[in-house]
């Protein structure tokens, strides 16, 4: 329609026919009435900041600022005159509204309400995550524009100068003695190229610190047995080995060197010319032990002697601006940061530095005499910042990276960051390491998750061995702690660790091999700590019933070994240390714990009776079935009864152990099934305190607010004293006589009656008016029905239905009012009777 209209207008202009024009105008008018409000503003539009909405301080300069600009201009002229070969300073760049602003006033110290932004590393990592870099163009000159931090926060983009300005504002707000530094740095830093650095998450490879064996020599320690080896031979051997090792080491170093050479990037043509801006934190506030730099792009801290920083032109904070007078030919290593030292740091505003000004008064005097401008600015203080307060929302803190995700390339590694709840599977961080420099062959993938309903926290996949390791938070089913596997099918190689304290059976670890299973336990009341099971091959049964579920046929157990800790309440010779059930050989071997001063434990071997399968028949027992060994030959032989009972007990134990093993297998299958199910439908857990995301909590809160609102209204209503206007008429409202009370009551009731009637009348009147209007409209419609346009008809119809509705509602209200009026009257009467002021007189 829009298009049609446009065409029509064109035609109209061409033809110049008046009638058509009129019609078109009408149409236009009619159309204009139909307004379409945009459902929602598009996200791209939201990104664009409306310049017109900027406050006036953004668009204009205050007189003070103008003065400052003049001073700065003067300073710049002198500087350019005295040091013609130095690069021009960045003093008064244009802001987003195209107005010149002094750099110091662009800093807006702000303390943010988030606790993580109270420390410098929190601020730095936020800034580096939140913004994406726009490289300087050309890279050797400072930028012409410097946008305000608020603008930068809204657009999520900025140059290194804008990064630094934002970070410095946050740090100053948090109480750090921070400065923006304009200078020169290496290419990698300027372009935020971290692909030559080791990923910080990978950490140093060699971390295993050999704990020093602290061998305390005691007075009566026994001497070691005499060593009968030749010392000379030993030495010779040592020497040979040392030589071999040295050669090996040399070779390794050589290789290392070669590899490093290969990795080194080509030399940079613009080395030392690339302009960069970063943040300097001086050591005196917030318990900072020594000066350090923060690179706002990567969010990392560097020592002030770091090789990456090649030179400094100037530094500034929200109070003053200093130009570096020190030699930067050898980088920043030799620099000192005593800003009161006017030889090394030339300041812009006198007296605003606040630092060690008093220590060198002579210098000051000299300066004053030299520079009249300085003298003038003696009383001049840096004007307040023109920038609005920096506001960081909770949303921003959570999303962090622009669009909620960020990718950083490191040396042989790629780090991907995602905002929580951004991805459906709860992925927050993914670190991929590669085996080559070009990052084509990934070797391991490590993923961190958050808010997962299945408590998964970390998953590491080793591509070479194809082993996956998953770590879980406490609180999962089966108290699973970590799971290491190749395949998710049961009876394959895997290792599961458990939170043993949360398990009734105290299981710590279960390691499975194709035909073996080893379980380790902790803190069990029966002192069991180890169980090793060897399975046999599954016997294939070719029957139709087993075809569907071959897994249901359990593998036959061949051997079970169980080990126990020492139970101090029993004597050692009765305390079982290890029992081996050789199921396939029908034998049971029991070994006891060592007695004091013994090296050979006692043991008993049993051979199971052949008819043991039949539980009805008593087991035939003979002495040969049990053999016992005890180191003490004077030991009294055991009674047959005891041996028999023990054998019976052991056979029972064998059965229970077999059951336990089956339970374990079942549990493994259950865990795998649960894991598979969880992976197929991943749910994220939303905390009840996360009001923004928790739908139920929000509904609940809203409902509560509504309830509170209603309650408040009711309260108000209740508090309304209906007797007040009548009491006010009385002379002595405190003491009421019966007569007065009766009169009050009748007055009150009469008043209500009047009101009810008035209300009904009002409704009646409205109803009549509406009906009348509708009738008139209808008549008008019937008259003009033929000449009306479609739009008019539509309008009319809409009006009709609307009016009908209104009439209907009025009708309903009137009838309900009529119904309720007697009730209201009665209830007022009742309340009057109950009213403490009148009750005495009325009853």
């Amino acid at each position: 329609m829009e298009f049609d209209k446009g065409v029509a207008i064109d035609e109209a202009k061409e033809d110049g026919r008046d009638e058509l024009n009129k019609d078109l105008l009408k149409l236009d008018e009619a159309l204009r009435k139909i307004q379409i409000t945009p459902a929602c503003s598009l996200p791209e539009q939201a990104q664009q900041v409306d310049l017109s909405q900027c406050p006036t301080s953004y668009k204009e300069n205050s007189p003070q600022e103008k003065l400052l600009l003049a001073i700065a201009e003067n300073f710049r002229c002198q500087y350019a005159h005295i040091y013609p070969d130095r690069k021009p300073l960045l003093l008064c760049p244009l802001n987003e509204c195209g107005v010149q602003k002094f750099v110091s006033t662009t800093l807006r110290p702000t303390l943010s309400p988030f606790p993580e932004l109270y420390s410098w590393d929190g601020c730095a990592s936020f800034v580096s995550d939140f913004l994406s870099l726009e490289p300087l163009d050309p890279p050797t000159d400072p930028p012409k524009h410097l946008h305000s931090p608020t603008w930068v926060l809204q657009t999520n983009r900025g140059s290194c100068f804008e990064f630094s300005t934002l970070l410095c504002s946050l740090l100053l707000g948090a109480g750090y003695n921070a400065y923006c530094v304009s200078g020169y740095a290496v290419k990698e830093m300027c372009l935020l190229n971290q692909s030559l650095q080791q990923c910080p998450l990978l950490g140093p490879l060699v971390k295993v610190k050999a704990t020093k064996q602290r061998q305390q020599v005691k007075k009566y320690s026994v001497k070691p047995p005499r060593d009968l080896c030749s010392g000379f031979e030993q030495r010779q051997e040592d020497r040979r080995q040392a030589e071999a090792q040295a050669i090996l080491l040399q070779k390794q170093q050589e290789e290392e060197r070669l590899r490093e050479d290969g990795e080194r990037p080509p030399p940079d043509a613009l080395l030392g010319l690339r302009v960069h801006c970063w943040v300097l934190v001086l050591a005196d506030s917030r318990e900072v032990p020594e000066n350090f730099f923060i690179d706002p792009l990567s969010g990392k801290s560097f020592s002030t002697t770091d090789k990456c920083f090649l030179g400094i032109e100037s530094i500034w904070n929200h109070q003053n601006y200093w130009v570096n007078m020190q030699d930067c030919r050898f980088g920043c290593a030799e620099m000192t940061y005593d800003l009161g030292d006017a030889v090394k740091w030339e300041y812009l505003l006198y007296g605003a530095a606040g630092q060690s000004v008093l220590t060198i008064p002579d210098m000051m005097m000299q300066q004053e005499v030299e520079d009249e401008d300085e003298e003038e600015s003696r009383v001049f203080e840096m004007p307040p910042s023109w920038v609005n307060q920096i506001k960081i929302s909770q949303q921003d803190m959570e999303t962090r990276c622009p669009g909620g995700m960020k990718v950083i390339h490191y040396r042989k590694a790629k780090l991907e960051k995602f905002a929580p709840y951004l991805l459906k599977d709860g992925l927050v961080t993914r670190l991929t390491t590669y085996s080559d420099l070009d990052c084509t062959h990934s070797s391991t993938v490590k993923e961190w998750y958050q808010h997962r309903h299945d408590h998964l926290e970390e998953r590491e996949l080793n591509k070479a061995t194809n082993v996956t390791v998953e770590h879980f938070r406490p609180g999962r089913s089966f108290a699973l702690r970590s799971h290491r596997y190749i395949m998710m099918t049961p009876e394959t190689e895997r290792q599961m660790d458990f939170y043993s304290c949360a398990r009734a059976d105290g299981l710590v670890r279960r390691v499975e091999m194709p035909f073996e299973m080893t379980e380790t336990f902790e803190n069990r009341p029966d002192f069991l700590y180890y169980r090793h099971v060897v399975f046999g091959k599954r016997v294939k049964v070719f029957s139709p019933s087993n075809k569907e579920a071959p897994d249901r046929v359990d593998r036959p157990i061949q051997k079970v070994v169980e080990s126990f800790h020492r139970d101090q309440s029993k004597p050692a010779r009765e305390d079982v240390a290890e029992r081996i059930f050789l199921v396939c050989e029908d034998r049971i071997q029991v070994t006891y714990h060592l007695e004091d001063d013994r090296i050979i434990p006692a043991w008993r071997n049993f051979i199971k009776p052949k008819d043991s399968g039949d539980s009805q028949k008593p087991h035939s027992f003979s002495r040969q079935m049990a053999s016992t060994f005890h180191v003490d030959s004077f030991e009294k032989p055991c009674k047959n009864l005891f041996l028999y009972e023990m054998l019976v007990h052991m056979m029972k134990e064998e059965e229970t152990v077999a059951l336990r093993v089956k339970d374990s297998e079942k549990e493994v299958r259950a865990i795998l099934a649960v894991r598979e199910q969880e992976e197929s439908s991943i749910e994220l857990h939303i905390s009840i305190y996360n009001t923004a995301r928790n739908e139920r909590a929000r509904c609940h809160r809203e409902a509560q607010e509504r309830m509170a609102q209603e309650e408040r209204l009711q309260e108000q209503e209740k508090e309304l004293d209906f007797l007040a206007p009548f009491l006010a008429q009385l002379v002595d409202p405190e003491n009421l006589t019966r007569q007065v009370a009766l009169k009050l009551r009748s007055d009150c009731l009469a008043d209500l009656k009047q009101r009810l009637v008035d209300k009904a009348n009002l409704m009646q009147a409205r109803f009549e008016r509406e009906t009348q209007e509708l009738q008139q409209k209808q008549q008008w419609y019937q008259k003009n029905q033929l000449t009306m346009t479609k739009e008019d008809e539509d309008e009319y119809l809409a009006y009709c239905s609307d009016a009908m509705l209104r009439i209907h509602v009025l009708k309903l209200r009137l009838s309900s009012h009529k119904d309720k009026a007697p009730q209201k009257y009665l209830s007022l009467d009742e309340r009057l009777r109950r009213d403490p002021r009148l009750a005495n007189h009325l009853l």
Partner: protein, 519 residues
């Protein structure tokens, strides 16, 4: 209530009855058969039930020493007796009998569950040693004194108590009273003691209980203090300086000396100070000796343990391998292969034997060395101590000097007094018997020198006693260490031999068996 015992003749607990009960209640089926073949020993029986047997007198139970549960309920027992030997008893049921007095239970210190339900007992008493009681059933008896319940406070582990059906239960505050005085009780008379009752009890008997608790605490404190004192004294004994930390020696010098007491004229006492010094030295020396002992025992234990671990590991490895080989040999069919395997096994056994013996010898050597060192050091130490006591430290000679000095002084005074007495110039009022001493000079001098001799003898005796005791202690210590080491060594050697013999026997058995089969 007409009970059978009125008409039936009481039976006697004789051998037949016990035998029958043991057989009936022992293992059944197959196990029973095996047990019958072997015979059951009374001292191995753990449980015995002798109820409904009309027993009048408990008898012949002294053999059942390992009994833990004994049921004698529903008999007509009149007196608790004959249970002294059943010291392992944990559960004793004497309910439904005719017992009138609690007695004869003092040796059953492990008893946890005691039932005297439905008897004719009127006083709770004679159970002081049964501190492990958990459950006590005293219902349906004749207790009339509610205060008697306080007796049960001594059972700290008592959780379940039954007093139902006694005359005391009819008293108003029976339940509250019991709850107040037995705060640890959980169940009373078949029911849980609820919080409400407890609160009531607390409110009602608060003061009485507080007082009682206070008294009990004080008693306990007194006992603790006494024990501490005894410990202290034991420590002094061990340091051989008991009774030197005060004027004991001095007092004892005069204790046996009636004359001196009469001549109660004492010089200011540096002797006590000297004793104290000596005492301090003794304690310090004792501490050093203890440290030395500890360090020696620690080291020797470490050495032995380390050696044991190594040996045990090698034996365990060998045993595992041996079992494997034995089972393999069981299945092997080739006689030549079997022969080589047997030989190989034999070699292995010899090797193990050698290595174990070598290790043991090494250990013996090592221990011998450190024992020698230790002996030398501790002997030096003791000798030093004795020297300090005897001479270099001028203590006891000093004592003697002091005593001599004192003696002379005393003599002078005595003579002077004598003269005074002779001249009848004495102003002081002396007791008559003292006055009698000063009748003539010889008597006085005799008395004084006799007293001097006694004193010297005392001092010497103390010194001798100390030295002898130190020496006997040291020799006993060294002997015990050596004996222990010898015993350990013998035990280990016997162990190794035993094992090797066993393994060899097994091997030769196997050889014979296989040969027999193959031939």
């Amino acid at each position: 209530m007409s009970r059978l015992y009125d008409t039936l003749e009481p039976s006697v607990m004789d051998k037949k009855m016990l035998q029958q009960a043991v057989e009936e209640q022992g293992p059944q089926d197959q196990a029973g058969q095996i047990a019958k073949e072997e015979g059951v020993l009374y001292e191995e029986v753990c449980q015995l039930c002798l109820n409904y047997r009309n027993i009048l007198k408990i008898d012949h139970l002294w053999q059942f020493t390992s009994l833990t549960k004994l049921q004698l309920d529903n008999n007509i027992i009149v007196k608790i007796e004959g249970l002294e030997c059943l010291t392992n008893l944990k559960w004793l049921d004497l309910s439904f009998n005719n017992i009138e007095v609690i007695e004869g239970l003092n040796s059953l210190v492990l008893l946890e569950d005691l039932s005297l339900y439905n008897n004719r007992i009127s006083v709770i008493e004679n159970m002081d040693t049964l501190l492990n009681l958990h459950i006590l059933s005293l219902g349906n008896n004749l207790f009339t004194q509610l205060e008697n319940v306080i007796y049960l406070r001594r059972f700290k582990n008592l959780r379940t108590l039954n007093l139902a059906g006694n005359p005391i239960c009819r008293e108003d505050h029976y339940k509250i009273f019991v709850a107040a005085y037995l705060p640890e009780l959980v169940y009373l008379d078949f029911g849980l003691l609820n919080e409400e009752t407890r609160e009531q009890a607390h409110g009602k008997y608060q003061y009485a209980i507080e007082e009682m608790r206070h008294n009990e605490t004080q008693e306990r404190k007194a006992i603790e203090a006494k024990k501490e004192q005894e410990d202290q004294f034991q420590l002094h004994m061990d340091a051989f300086v008991e009774h030197l930390n005060g004027p004991y020696l001095f007092d004892s010098m005069y204790a046996d000396d009636a004359e001196a007491a009469k001549l109660s004229y004492l010089p200011g006492v540096p002797l006590v100070e000297l004793c104290m010094q000596m005492f301090e030295v003794g304690l310090a020396q004792h501490g050093r000796r203890e440290d030395e002992l500890k360090s020696f025992f620690d080291c020797s234990r470490e050495a032995v343990e380390e050696n044991q671990q190594r040996a045990a590991q090698s034996v365990a490895d060998f045993e595992r391998a041996r079992r494997q080989v034995m089972s393999e040999m069981q299945q092997a069919t080739d006689p030549r292969l079997l022969e080589t395997q047997l030989n190989h096994c034999n070699d292995e056994i010899n090797q193990l034997c050698d290595s174990l013996m070598t290790q043991e010898l090494q250990l013996v050597d090592q221990l011998e060395d450190i024992i020698k060192d230790f002996e030398r050091d501790i002997l030096d130490m003791v000798a030093g101590f004795v020297e300090v006591v005897q001479g270099i430290y001028p203590l006891l000679p000093h004592c003697r000097d002091l005593e001599n000095h004192h003696h002379e002084k005393l003599l002078e005074i005595a003579v002077a007094t004598l003269e005074q007495v002779a001249k009848n110039e004495l102003e002081e009022d002396m007791p008559d018997d003292v006055r009698m001493l000063f009748v003539d000079k010889d008597t006085v001098i005799n008395a004084v020198s006799a007293s001097h001799d006694t004193h010297l003898l005392k001092i010497d005796n103390r010194e001798d006693e100390l030295v002898t005791r130190v020496n006997s202690w040291i020799s006993a210590l060294i002997k015990s260490i050596q004996d222990k080491e010898v015993k350990r060594n013998r035990k280990r050697i016997a162990e190794i031999h035993n094992y090797i013999d066993y393994v060899r026997d097994q091997l030769s058995e196997m050889r014979q068996e296989r040969w027999g089969k193959n031939i």
